[in-house]
């Protein structure tokens, strides 16, 4: 509630916060849609139970009809530093390209945010093929961070992104701390860039991939360095390929990250059809899809209890139940990944379904769904961004 007031009215918030909020993305949402101007005392549960009629009712009750009993549910989420998303359904890095590829069949503006393909300082051609293969309940990929380099990405897409309502979070990878900070510096202040997701946990590249994510000290160091290089909202993506994720999550949060995303893929291999060698050209690949959901749930459950910053869950989301599960273990938002390949319209549909679910439960917003499965003594996790610390 406090976060909401901060952006809409700017009243009461300390003046030093405002530049950051406004510099990132002046209009993540059009002013009319920024907040459903809900009266807090409006009756909610009285007629909000008809899930069948909710679709038509929602169309009728646009932003201009705030007093309607079936008004828009507040799905906005604050990931910190002014990175406010219209809803908590993001698309995961590597599964949605640069946001333009699925444009013919998906309305990207309905998404909470887009995490673009992993971007490095210099162009990378990626790994040998085959790069993807299906596995039971999931898939392995070893793309190897193929990308044209940060300058080419900015050249090609930043102008498009700056015209979009949906925030674009650039996933950043690198071989050294200097690489990470240089990419962050080049992204800083560019139009169309809403935030950075640090990919310190790519399992598919030899150098500079995973070693940052498996050691708390290294993870904290790279986070702190990037933090100094940019004022952009900063997410850091956790790896599940570690013994205990909690010290790493804590180190990243202490180093100044605005949010965590969890998890990256699990390292795995598949065997080729003739059984003469591993199937993937790179031998190792990263496992994603429904197969990793229990692991991701565990990591989110653990991480959200040890940090005060928001956690964005990733891993095998294919239906609303998965979203609710992740919210229950403390995530404030989820990224949809592998499931997009089978059903590109899933993320937008999940937004609708989450709203309908809140309506069905008689909720004003979805925040009461967060952290319900966490141990009681832990207290509710933060559903808003960290305060700006100059």
């Amino acid at each position: 509630m406090k976060a909401r007031r901060r952006v809409v009215t700017n009243g009461g918030a300390p003046a030093k916060r405002r530049p950051t909020v406004r510099r990132i993305k002046p209009a993540i949402l059009p002013a009319t849609r920024r907040i459903a101007p809900a009266a807090p005392s409006a009756p909610v549960a009285s007629s909000g139970n008809g899930a069948g009629s909710s679709a038509t009712a929602e169309r009728r009750a646009g932003p201009g009809a705030p007093m309607s009993p079936e008004r828009e549910i507040d799905l906005t989420v604050d990931l910190g530093r002014g990175l406010r998303l219209a809803n908590p359904i993001l698309v995961a890095s590597g599964t949605f390209g640069y946001g333009v590829e699925y444009g013919d069949v998906v309305d990207v503006q309905r998404l909470g945010a887009i995490c673009c393909k992993g971007t490095t300082l210099r162009p990378r051609v990626g790994n040998p093929t085959p790069r993807v293969t299906e596995t039971p309940g999931g898939m392995l990929n070893s793309i190897g961070l193929q990308n044209p380099g940060v300058d080419a990405v900015l050249d090609k897409y930043a102008a498009t992104w700056s015209r979009w309502r949906v925030p674009v979070i650039v996933n950043v990878a690198g071989e050294s701390i200097a690489d990470f900070t240089e990419v962050a510096r080049r992204l800083d202040g560019q139009p169309g860039i809403a935030g950075i997701e640090l990919n310190i946990s790519c399992p598919n590249v030899g150098k500079g991939g995973i070693q940052f994510a498996i050691d708390a000290e290294a993870a904290g160091a790279v986070t702190a360095a990037v933090r100094r290089a940019t004022d952009l909202p900063l997410l850091v993506k956790l790896s599940p390929n570690v013994a205990d994720v909690r010290p790493i999550a804590r180190a990243i949060a202490d180093a100044g990250a605005d949010a965590l995303s969890a998890i990256n893929t699990l390292s795995g291999i598949a065997v080729g059809p003739a059984r003469s060698r591993p199937l993937l050209g790179n031998i190792y690949g990263g496992l994603s899809g429904p197969a990793i959901k229990p692991v991701a749930l565990r990591v989110v459950y653990e991480a959200s209890q040890v940090v005060d910053i928001p956690v964005v869950a990733i891993g095998g989301v294919t239906e609303l139940a998965d979203v609710l599960d992740y919210l229950a273990v403390g995530a404030v938002a989820v990224q949809v990944g592998t499931a997009i390949f089978a059903d590109p319209t899933l993320p937008a549909r999940l937004v609708d379904e989450l709203g309908a679910e809140c309506r069905r439960r008689g909720l004003d917003d979805y925040r009461p769904l967060i952290g319900t499965a966490l141990p009681k003594r832990a207290g509710p996790p933060s559903a808003k961004g960290v305060e700006y610390r100059p």
Binding site: V125, R131, G138, A339
Partner: protein, 286 residues
């Protein structure tokens, strides 16, 4: 690119383990061209997380139908064989870039290896409709895998090679190509990668000896043609339809790349699946 439901009309096992299925999907068929493909979702949501790509085997824009031709190689393809007429599947398409036939080409040579028939089959229809002469060279392991001539248009000259010599030429289909290289104005191929590599070698040697006589003289002579453009493919003697394991099929995941001669990865789903043979780095280790 559209996302649409398709209704199964007909499903037949035309060869042992090979199926020909016909779907009614007017939205997808409108504007589809030979060489493009559809990405089809299986209804088995329990363990299969990826769609399956299939070339347009035939395209009938008037009836709004398409056919796909596949071999059962796993759980996904087996799921398709259990479909019954009236069942609906979710298709994404048409995807990728099609074969480009130069308007002046009169003699079309098609080369297919095994399931590669599915990749060039639609082009036989299109070329004949445009009044071109078509010769189709087809290679298979044995007689029981030879595509039935009854499923081809009458006008196609159909020549078969089998690896074991059980029918037609005893040897690889590529052995037959030199007999036709002088006759053909353009060639189009789909099949296993070693076959395509051999054909690319033959095409390069043909270009050295015979040149590309009829093509690209009039308009834009002397102007460089960008690599990967439709014009580049239209000018090429040999166009190949490539195959790679595919994830998204729209160019987002970068899973299905082949390397071009400059060492840059090209997405089979977006820049392909049809490439000019001289765009591909055939010796690369990818």
């Amino acid at each position: 690119m559209r996302l649409a439901g398709a209704e199964l009309i007909d499903s037949r096992e035309i060869l042992p383990g090979q199926w020909l299925q016909s779907f009614h999907a007017p939205e997808l068929v409108a504007g589809a061209r030979a060489g493009q493909f559809v990405h089809v979702r299986t209804g088995d949501y329990s363990g299969l997380v990826l769609r399956r790509p299939f070339s347009f085997n035939t395209i009938d824009p008037i009836a709004g139908t398409l056919t796909i031709h596949f071999r059962t190689i796993g759980r996904g393809t087996e799921w398709f064989t259990r479909l019954r007429p009236g069942d609906r599947v979710d298709m994404l398409g048409p995807l990728g870039r099609p074969f480009e036939v130069d308007p002046r080409t009169r003699h079309v040579l098609l080369v297919a290896g095994g399931l590669g028939m599915a990749g060039v089959r639609a082009l036989a229809d299109a070329a004949i409709r445009d009044g071109r002469q078509v010769t189709l060279l087809f290679g298979a392991a044995r007689a029981s895998e030879v595509y039935p001539s009854s499923l081809l248009p009458d006008e196609v000259e159909y020549i078969v090679a089998t690896d074991d010599g059980s029918v037609g030429h005893h040897g690889f289909v590529t052995d037959l190509v030199p007999d036709y290289e002088a006759w053909a104005d353009q060639a189009f191929a789909c099949g296993p990668q070693p076959m395509l590599r051999a054909l690319a070698g033959l095409a390069a040697s043909r270009r050295r000896r015979l040149g590309v006589a009829s093509l690209g003289r009039k308009r834009g002579a002397g102007r460089p043609i960008p690599v990967g453009s439709p014009q580049a493919r239209r000018r090429a003697f040999l166009q190949v339809s490539m195959e790679q394991n595919m994830g998204c099929a729209v160019g987002a995941c970068l899973g299905c790349v082949v390397m071009d001669t400059k060492g840059a990865p090209q997405r089979v789903c977006r820049e392909g699946p049809v490439f000019a043979s001289d765009e591909i780095d055939w010796e690369g280790g990818w």
